[in-house]
Amino acid sequence: MMIMQDTSWVPLFPEDASSFAWQVDYLYFYLIAVSGFFAIGVVIAIFFFAIKYRAKEKFATPDEIHGSIPLELFWSFVPFVISMTIFLGGAVVYYNQYKIPADAMEIYVVGKQWMWKVQHRTGQREINELHVPVGRKVKLTMTTEDVLHDFFIPAFRTKADVVPGRYTTMWFEATKPGKYRLYCAEYCGLNHAGMGGWVYVMEQKDFDNWLAGNASDQTPVQAGEDLFTNKLGCASCHAGGDSQRGAKLENIFGKEVKFVDGNTAVRDEQYIRNSILNPGSQIVEGYQPIMPTFKGQVTEEQLVSLVAYIKSLSGDTSATGTSTSNSSSTQEDSTMNQPKESEPKKPSEDKEGESK
């Protein structure tokens, strides 16, 4: 199952290995057909006219033709209609590519000049490699420690920029076991061309073996808890029950919050991240602006763990690597920024993930 299944002399298409790859290919074929039709038509017309009406005497003055309104309307209207079909086709495929399904298993990705660091919910870490099971929806939550990067898997026909200071997401469902190229597609400096690797798509049992064989240290939730209670001391303000000074963190995820300035926001990953780094920028109604910033004290990977832990306080553990996912969360769209997964509205009791 190597990437070069296409052994023709000049490979024309990359492998087709995700659930929406065929949609992208069909759109591509449709566009080739439309383009071919117009290009060949116009070129034939040009050749025909150029030969038939070649100059037969010097400085001839052929009859004037000013133009034709019906023709102009015709060739404005037809391209418009065709371009709308292309737009609609593209819109549907795009929606499928970026609408993150709620029941996807979650993997964290941190980009860094010039490597991809991947962390599974069960704690396994890998660099420049990503192991995923076949036939499972996988959601990547991504950020970067330095500059822009872009996580690009041609065989899956999808990519997304990875942006410092925020989380972006992408998803895919691999359909064929194999080994596929992973690239960084957003220029990131000196060794940009070397920032890539492989995505390994495995049968579920192979994937389970792989998970077992790569004994994990701590899951992100455990690592986050450790940071929360010991290393960073968040617990001193955020875990004291009714008497705590800091905002309550239990069962808040995915819910709306009101700030002292009257604005509201949905508490998603981005919100939690921002609360840790820029607490002063979003003071929750009813609390004092006393939290210090943790900017510069936590790495992106630690932030990912903290986010995972705080989500777990709301019962959200999303699907993990094993095959028993049955998350029932619903979904709504964040209207700002990225097509971001916004979070389950249903209370945590609905969940049966292995919460810690």
Binding site: M4, W9, V10, P11, L12, P14, Q23, V24, L27, Y28, A39, V42, A45, I46, F49, A50, R54, A55, E57, F59, A60, T61, P62, E64, H66, G67, L71, S76, P79, S83, I86, F87, A91, V93, Y94, Y95, Q97, D146, V147, D150, P154, A155, R157, A160, D161, V163, P164, G165, R166, Y183, C184, E186, Y187, C188, G189, L190, A193, G194, M336, N337
Partner: protein, 559 residues
């Protein structure tokens, strides 16, 4: 206008030999000239130098990509090479080429004016171009810049150890050169038209430049602001784009593309203007659907401001913003399609001859068709998620920028060469080079569409081995293209000295620029022309003595 030169000209009027080139030979008479034609010639020389340098960088890129490993250059060098190729070509060739050279030379001639409305500002714009260019060259000599011509933050602000600010300043200053040129064109078109030259008698070249100028004066300040914000952030640590100090890197992309997408139309619209002239002139037929071509230029200029987000489909903007920008992008496709159909229809029942400029026009049509149609691929947002940041993009914008702008520029340069210099170039070599460029170009860039769909990312010094075959095609094509592009330098320069002397109106065309001597006198027309004919009339109603010209052509069958 009311200067010493003017008096000199009055005195010399009886001697028809004095033209704008022979009116003073000192260096000062060039460097302090207010003559739009001399300024255009100085632009021609400077822009050609930048084009040549950008071309050398392109050659280096293609040589490196001949093999999968980064063996010819280290990746750091390669990063600088592609960045500098982009910076020089975009800011110092593509943007000024047609407006500052052909537009500067021809716009006053075409509207029947003595000069542009602000001759001194025109000279100032040339000096700004030089200052910006020299600053950029200085930065390249010092060690270069490696951010990509897009200067995306935070790489450009915080991480790159190259001469970002010097190049940024160079582009900033150069931007004012564009703004001043645009301003000059707009005012001239409004106020300097000869009697009888109504708006709808203007050559489409002028309409295209009018639309271009609108974009120049409305868009360019935004890139100036963006560069200023970059500088403020670097110097004062106020967070604008850098997330580490509270900025937003995506904001930079919005601002950058708010200018740089319309800038694409700064590059292509003037070329479309040239093509309208060429196709009409060499089929000796009134352009089909004049008003539709004219207004499609304006429509492109206006809609061009609304589609910047299509450069950011995967950058983290909202899914709904992506859909809106995709829709608007599809709308922009329509005026471009209208132009292509009208150009094709102009050929119908014409009297078509295949001189060198017309070969370039045909080449433009072929390449722009492919460039425009692949634009639909990239406007279709679901497909672009896969294609963006790959070689598909690289191929697409080279088809539009090189296939469109360079073909239009070269076609126009050949078309008006005799008017600008008073000499004819070798028609034989002209045709050979036009064909070589067309073939070489397709061989270079068509394989890159396939590479792009394969997923080869752009800006990679090294690539997987399975992609080598197509890269070899591309490099081979680039060498043909390189030969094709070098040939005009030789035979055009050759023509300056050994070329046959040109008639005033070798093709018996009705435009005002053909109704003055070749080369024109300093103030263009001995008497202010009065326009009584419509644009693109070739018969008796244009007042030209076709029969006489035909008889003369019989005697000396030259041009």
């Amino acid at each position: 206008m009311e200067n010493v030169d003017a008096m000199k000209l009055d005195g010399a009027k009886k001697e028809p030999k004095v033209n704008y080139l022979t009116n003073g030979f000192s260096l000062k008479s060039w460097l302090l000239t207010k003559d739009h034609k001399r300024i255009a010639i100085m632009y021609l020389i400077s822009v050609s130098v930048f084009f040549l340098m950008g071309g050398l960088y392109a050659a280096a890129i293609r040589l490196e990509l001949l093999t999968p490993a980064s063996d010819l250059m280290e990746s750091g060098t390669y990063n600088k090479v592609f960045t500098q190729h982009g910076v020089l070509m975009v800011f110092f060739y593509l943007i000024p080429a047609i407006p500052a050279i052909l537009g500067n030379f021809l716009l006053p001639l075409m509207i029947g004016a003595k000069d542009l409305a602000f001759p001194r500002i025109n000279l100032l714009s040339l000096y700004l171009y030089w200052i910006g260019g020299i600053l950029t060259l200085y930065a390249l000599m010092q060690g270069g810049v490696d951010t990509g011509w897009t200067f995306y933050t935070p790489y450009s602000t915080t991480f790159s150890n190259s001469f970002v600010m010097a190049v940024g300043l160079g582009i900033f200053i150069n931007g004012f050169s564009s703004i001043l040129t645009g301003l000059n064109f707009i005012v001239s078109t409004h106020t300097m038209r000869a009697p009888g030259m109504t708006w709808f008698r203007l050559p489409l070249f002028v309409w295209a430049h009018y639309a271009t100028s609108l974009v120049m004066i409305l868009g360019t300040p935004v890139v100036a602001i963006t560069i200023l914000l970059l500088a403020i952030e670097r110097v004062t640590q106020v967070g604008v784009f850098d997330p580490a100090i509270g900025g937003d890197p995506i904001l930079f992309q919005h601002l950058f593309w708010f200018y740089s997408h319309p800038a694409v139309y700064i590059m292509i619209l003037p070329a479309m203007g040239v093509i309208s002239e060429l196709i009409s002139s060499f089929s000796r037929k009134k352009i089909f659907g004049y008003e539709f071509i004219a207004f499609s230029s304006i429509a492109i200029a206006v809609f061009g401001f609304l589609v910047w987000g299509h450069h950011m489909f995967v950058s983290g903007q909202s899914i709904y913003a992506g859909l809106v920008f995709s829709f608007l992008t599809m709308v922009v496709a329509v005026p471009s399609a209208i132009k292509v159909f009208n150009w094709t229809a102009t050929l119908y029942k014409g009297s078509i001859s295949y001189e060198t400029p017309m070969l370039y026009a045909f080449g433009f049509l072929g390449l722009f068709l492919i460039g425009g149609l692949t634009g639909l691929f990239l406007g279709s947002v679901g497909l672009t998620v896969h294609l963006t940041d790959t070689y598909f993009i690289v191929a697409h914008f080279h088809y539009v920028m090189v296939g469109g702008t360079v073909m239009g520029y070269l076609g126009g340069l050949h078309f008006w060469w005799s008017k600008m210099t008073g000499r004819h170039y070798s028609e034989f070599w002209g045709k050979i080079s036009a064909m070589l460029i067309f073939i070489g170009f397709n061989l270079t860039f068509f394989p890159q569409f396939i590479l792009g769909y394969q997923g080869m990312p752009r800006r990679y010094a090294a690539y997987p081995e399975e992609l080598q075959v197509l890269n070899i095609f591309s490099t081979a094509g680039a060498s043909v293209l390189g030969v094709g592009l070098t040939m005009p330098v030789v035979y055009l320069v050759h023509s300056l000295i050994w070329g046959e002397k040109a008639e005033d109106n070798p093709w018996m065309l009705s435009g005002l620029e053909w109704r003055t001597s070749s080369p024109p006198p300093t103030f263009n027309f001995d008497e202010t022309p009065i326009v009584t004919w419509e644009a693109y009339e070739f018969g008796e109603e244009s007042g030209l003595d076709i029969d006489e010209a035909r008889r003369e052509a019989e005697v000396s069958p030259a041009a």
